[in-house]
Symmetry: C2
Subunit: 167 residues, 2 copies
Amino acid sequence: MVALTAPTSPAAPEEPSQAPTATNYYERSLTVALLRARESTMRRFKKYVDERDLSLPQWRVLRALADGEPLDAGTLCERCVILPPSLTRILRALGERGLTRQVECADARRHMVTLSEKGQTMFDELVGASEHSRREIYDAFGPEKMALLLDLLNELREITETLPDHD
Amino acid sequence: MVALTAPTSPAAPEEPSQAPTATNYYERSLTVALLRARESTMRRFKKYVDERDLSLPQWRVLRALADGEPLDAGTLCERCVILPPSLTRILRALGERGLTRQVECADARRHMVTLSEKGQTMFDELVGASEHSRREIYDAFGPEKMALLLDLLNELREITETLPDHD
DNA sequence: TATTGTTATACTCTATAACTATA
DNA sequence: TATAGTTATAGAGTATAACAATA
């Protein structure tokens, strides 16, 4: 995390505006800003997930599968930011609840899963139940800014993933 | 998390562009985008924290204190997105390592802490060591976009925090 | 032999409630 | 009586390594 702000020494001249001062240095940390923005928005949705006895990682898995096509464990790990051992447990729990079901795959090593009808229903219900909260944030922040923010976030991720591996 | 995309039904007409399709729906979830952007950037910094045997929450605490002024536990909890019981453990661990020290406070209930000289040194060293990685992301993404993203993230958080409490 | 997941294990954080000390 | 933290405790995720099955 962390060092995504200017160094402690005065900001280099070519780094425009927003130069951190003693009192807002912390606010200019990218990873902290990402964490706090996520916390403040997610807090308003967590109750809908809690009501259905889902953990947030479990919900991300349902959400990723709700796009339609079956996915394998590796893809789910990457998209949902979940480590393989955690995903194994999560897929077992979701499967036992009948929310997901396994799909055969030509490559028998792959664990392919898809949403069951029950899982799709739970997904739709949760999205519907939380729509008011989503809308509230969306309207307060502004649709254009929201679209811009999403684009910037996805672009940042894509760019960062293509950078050469850390030493 | 979660429902920060359009509902499953077709996007309302007043929600411009970026309407989620079957294949990118997941990508348009704000909380997921925040998580993934954080993961991809933090991954490049985690080694610097690991090398110093700090957890990410511990590092956030040092970072928050590096702004200079002593902070109480409640403020640290909020700024670092850490629950009180976790912070208690973290402050104990940092204190035992001599990275932070307690500061007296008029209100004896408050647990006020500040960075020790050793803590400040570790902070400076970590920021210096990771500067190359920070710069790499900063340059690849672009200084203007980075500043814009930070502003949007902080604004989103502030707006969300001022919304009426969830039902 | 390389790849995909699972199992094992230790540690940390999350989350809630109950408790202590101070105001 | 309200507030600020700590302690207690259960549960889930993080992370690494070792293992199994398949390609």
